[in-house]
Symmetry: C2
Subunit: 197 residues, 2 copies
DNA sequence: GGGGAAGCGGACCGTGGGTCCGTATCGTAC
DNA sequence: GTACGATACGGACCCACGGTCCGCTTCCCC
């Protein structure tokens, strides 16, 4: 046991910060409007606690994001088709992209907060690396497809949080329409044209 | 004449700020490392002048970016093929994407500064709207292609500054290789597979 | 219930974007 | 050339925000 179990108040406060931050990000227009002090106050906690628990702003956002994302990742890694590992790549790739899109639609502001973090590029985040690796591996199993690594990047770029926000939030594109567009785009890239050529 | 001609010193200072900012952004690792005070000092100018001339940080970056981008836009709007308007869409679209990619490779830090601007989404910038409209119009002329608007967004997302920076700067992918990957990706989307199907 | 570690919290600090206004410079009219 | 109004300059100043620090509290374990 290298891990000592954390104190009760620490756990409670961590949870309080989580829910407070979640609420604030969801409510506010731009993630920049939510300050660390705001979150601390809303959670009924001192700023020090907040920084002690998460390191810095970026760490807090990342922790929150990953907690919310967890179910999706589980569904992909060990869930039933079409997301699960038993699915053949040609269907699993679009399913994965759709799942990511839906997640970002449901957590627009949080995703925006994570990716729009100025200093540190979203591409260095650990979870991006994971998505990319997973997607690239799937693409590599598709015969006749080259440049899997780049293709994976380009496909993921199509579901970037700020693009999703721009289309869904600003241009008011309905959810199902976006999903359709994305599916059709993925089909083009994969060579599985939806309409008989 | 609603415009009064600007004073000589104003023009001189504006130019000085431009070159100073350009140099600083090119030299520094992350755009966040370059402060407004830095730029003012390097240009031999007071901070007030700088803000008077450009409004705010974002305005300065935008002005600089657009000035550097001008030649590219000219080449697309009135230049010779394959960029110019006389080119058929199937060749012009990849040419445009390649031009954007090359521009971002040559102006990595500046593009990064523009797009990674936290508060205001890159999708609300005027120049993005122009790229998107142009690309979408080209796509619409290609028979059998649906969802031109979304496709244009997705293609442009593949040349986002931070992705380019990640691949070129961090992963050390050579320039020609990236251009090749992008061209092949565009070909997939356009349905013009490079290798006989 | 006593001792020590883990955690708390809010006063405090540094930094950087943005403002303000007295002063210098420019353009122009004579 | 000079005088004068308009325009621009510049750096001291302000303030919001991320992040730190340390005396005090709470918890855990014996």
């Amino acid at each position: 046991m290298t891990e000592r179990k954390p104190r009760k108040d620490a756990v409670r406060n961590r949870a309080a910060v989580f829910t407070a931050a979640d609420t604030l990000f969801a409510r506010c227009e731009s993630p920049a409007d939510v300050t660390m002090a705001d979150i601390a106050t809303a959670a009924g906690v001192g700023k020090g606690t907040l920084f002690r628990a998460f390191g810095d702003r970026s760490g807090l956002i990342r922790a929150l994001y990953e907690a919310r994302l967890e179910p999706v990742r589980a569904a992909i890694e060990e869930g039933p088709p079409p997301l699960g590992p038993a699915t053949p790549p040609l269907q699993r790739v679009p399913a994965l992209l759709d799942a990511v899109l839906c997640f970002k639609l449901d957590n627009r502001h949080l995703a925006l907060a994570l990716e729009g973090n100025g200093s540190d590029s979203p591409y260095r985040a650990e979870h991006y690396e994971q998505w990319h690796t997973m997607l690239r591996d799937m693409l590599e199993q598709i015969p006749g497809l080259t440049d899997s690594a780049f293709t994976a990047h380009a496909l993921l770029a199509a579901v970037r949080a700020d693009l999703v926000e721009h289309l869904a939030g600003h241009k008011r594109v309905p959810r199902e329409e976006m999903r359709g567009h994305l599916a059709s785009f993925a089909a083009k890239v994969l060579g599985t044209h939806p309409r008989g050529d």
